[in-house]
């Protein structure tokens, strides 16, 4: 068949197009409904994250990481904190590590739920979308309780997390997990064996194992081809080596396999979460329950010189000012903020606090560079940090997992039909925040 003699036409898809999410443009050359050539254009949400990080202090970069993958911001927070801690040689106490695992896995579930839901919606199944989003809402409320925000979580700090788990968190989470399992079951019944859905996703968006590896694709997209690569298993971080979970893999590398992979990974994440809640060591509060007093009362005690008395109480402060308890904070005082009762009541605590937050003082991390990666919802989310000894990164590079999948998108789409763009693009789970940074 001589393609040059055929009459083709150009179709510009996006950025203003319902399934391009307003942030990606595909320039298609079409023969009828068949895609003869495809060019992917990215960069519509470029925010100079990496450059911006260079003018921030180590801890101040955390809020910018929220905006990378905004469907699972906690994983970005953790990924960034881990690279800085690796550079600084800090280890977070076990309870802090468990809290990070819990945060990451909740985020992974929300991300996968969103991806499956959005794909279903774009295929015309709005009901499934709303069922899954309702389940995601239960998890977002837990995230809200944990971090004080639904999306802009900014939860981690260098050497710890913002705060300990709120009271009754495990029970509330268990209820939320039950909701998620119900929703997953409903979605499974409505989609997995649905003839129309299967016809739309089976055999479309196929990528071979070799191509996926060659493009550097990771995450569910790679695992759907049968490669069992998962950072949590391949290079365990935090306490992931203590959990019993399987890595679901597909075989054909099509949209259907990716859908099944994500569905199975949600269940695996819930299993990890349940194990984490069972294994998590007790924190300060549960070891020796201390009476809460308002910070200003402690301050008065300090002024009167009752410093021994102060030790008996915990400071009651605004939720946003809550300090890091010892159980979740690395003991390195040059990097982690003291507990608020220390800051408010004695000069050492106050000086410690101010040295860490004052401009050009802060956390001084030794000169060096390192890379560390976590398993993001879309694949390997890596950070490469370079320190010149100042209070912020000299250079920070982010390895966004969906960039590599987007690079392969044009190749996957050629020969497919316009309608196939929808499930394929949906299964890429392109999140422009991390793609364009």
């Amino acid at each position: 068949m001589n393609i040059s003699n055929r009459k083709t036409y150009m179709l510009n898809m996006g950025p203003a197009h319902p399934s391009m999410h307003g942030v990606v443009r595909l320039v298609l050359e079409l023969d009828g409904e068949r895609i003869m050539a495809c060019e992917t254009e990215i960069g519509y949400l470029h925010r100079a994250f990496e450059k911006h990080a260079e003018s921030e202090t180590w801890n101040n970069v955390v809020p910018w990481t929220d905006r990378l993958n905004y469907v699972s911001p906690l994983i970005n927070n953790v990924g960034y904190a881990l690279v800085v801690e690796k550079l600084a040689g800090i280890t977070v106490p076990e309870r802090g590590q468990y809290i990070r695992v819990i945060a990451c896995e909740i985020s992974r579930v929300t991300d996968h739920l969103t991806c499956i839901a959005a794909t279903a919606m774009e295929l015309g199944s709005l009901t499934v979308f709303l069922y899954l989003i309702k389940a995601r809402e239960c998890l977002y409320q837990r995230v809200d309780e944990l971090t004080g925000a639904r999306i802009t979580t900014s939860f981690t700090r260098v050497g710890g997390v913002k705060a300990d788990l709120p009271a009754g968190f495990a029970e509330k989470c268990a209820a939320a997990f039950a909701e998620v399992r119900t929703a997953i079951c409903e979605a499974d019944q409505l989609l997995t064996r649905n003839r129309i859905f299967m016809d739309r996703v089976e055999g479309t968006g196929v990528i071979s194992k070799e191509d996926a590896v060659a493009y550097g694709i990771t995450g569910p997209f790679l695992r759907s081809t049968g490669v069992p690569y998962d950072v949590r298993r391949a290079h365990p971080y935090l306490v992931y080596d203590r959990f019993d979970f399987v890595i679901p893999v597909g075989s054909t590398g099509d949209n259907y396999d990716r859908y099944l992979c994500r569905l199975a990974e949600i269940e695996q994440s819930l299993c990890i979460l349940e194990q984490a809640f069972a294994q998590i060591p007790d924190g300060d509060h549960s070891l020796e329950p201390r009476e809460m007093k308002h910070a200003y009362e402690l301050q008065d005690m300090g002024k009167r010189g009752d410093t021994e008395l102060i030790e008996r109480y915990a400071a009651k402060v605004d939720q946003t000012l809550e300090g890091m308890a010892a159980a979740i904070r690395a003991p390195n005082r040059w990097a982690t903020l003291p507990a608020k009762e220390q800051t408010y009541t004695n000069i050492e605590g106050l000086m410690n606090h101010f040295e860490l937050v004052m401009w050009s003082w802060g956390i001084k991390i030794p000169v060096g560079e390192t890379y560390s990666a976590v398993e993001g919802a879309n694949g390997e989310l890596g950070f490469h940090a370079v320190s010149d000894g100042a209070d912020g990164p000299y250079r920070l590079r982010c390895r966004p997992p969906c960039l590599f999948t987007m690079a392969a998108l044009s190749k996957i789409l050629i020969g497919a039909q316009i309608a196939d763009i929808v499930p394929t693009f949906g299964s890429v789970n392109m999140i422009a925040g991390e793609l364009d940074r």
Binding site: P18, S19, E33, G124, S125, T127, I418, A419
Partner: protein, 341 residues
Amino acid sequence: MILLWSGVKVAFALTFGMSIAGLLGWVERKQSAVMQDRIGANRADILGFTLIGLFHPIADAIKMLTKEDLVPKGALKPFHGLAPMISLGCGLFCLAAMPFGGTVTVLGRVWSLQPVESSVGLPLVLAALGLGVHGIVMAGYASGSNYGLLGALRGASQMIASEVCLVASLAGTLFLYGTLDLQQAVLWQAAHAWGIVFQPLGFLLFLTAGAAVTKRTPFDLPEGESEIVGYHVEYSGMKFGMFLMTDLIESIVVCCLVASLYLGGWAIPGLDLPAMGLLGGVLMAASFSFKVALLIFLLMQVRWTLPRFRFDQLLDLGWKNMLPLSLANFLVTVWGVYLWR
């Protein structure tokens, strides 16, 4: 007098169509909301009364009528304006031939409750339903947009595929009734039994093909909102509203056809409605409307449950699966009728 009565009936059919189409917008919102654990539209109010969101169709109409009517620079202006009228006109025309009721004797005079009485009522309806696609093709072509053109092409080939199945699935039924007059078909069913009893497969095929003709999920390929946005991508305001309305009216038409051909039309088993005078007339219209409402409920339920087909898969479904099944159904029916008589 006869002329006046005909005028009243046609006006009734049109108002019925237009108002039910408006109401369907509300039904669709509320029904999908119930399915999806939502509340649904409930904000539009008059003097503080929201009436469970029933004012939304009115608010929608006002919004659409007052919106700016945009015509793209590259569009063929006359055809761009004509297209929605053709679509809506064809849809409304179909309703005029529906047997909303049989004949009743009131005040010593025989009144027929069918707006247009014709011995070829059914072909007329099917023809008008098929002609409606010209509106879509014209809209897509005249918009001067590739998205519109794609929608138009999809619309045209989908219409052919589904119309052929629609007629083929009907062949057995018509052979059984021996008439092309919808009123006669209803009377035949009243005398024997509902068409669905004799033609269960035909009923399913006709309903599916009918759903495909109305271009709604899972058959909303000409729109395909997340893929190509559709043939009406370059329309705004009431012109866009007319396309939306056409889809709803076509749904009503298909449901009316199914009700009259397979569910006994206006007849209620066990009651001799034509002999009951005025009450009979009211019951006829009520029974017919109830059956139509039930079918619309069913179609909506399907619409909010299933994902969308792909273009080639829909054509496969039409040409390779439904058409052979329809023809087989026809052959079996012919044999059955031959043996029966």
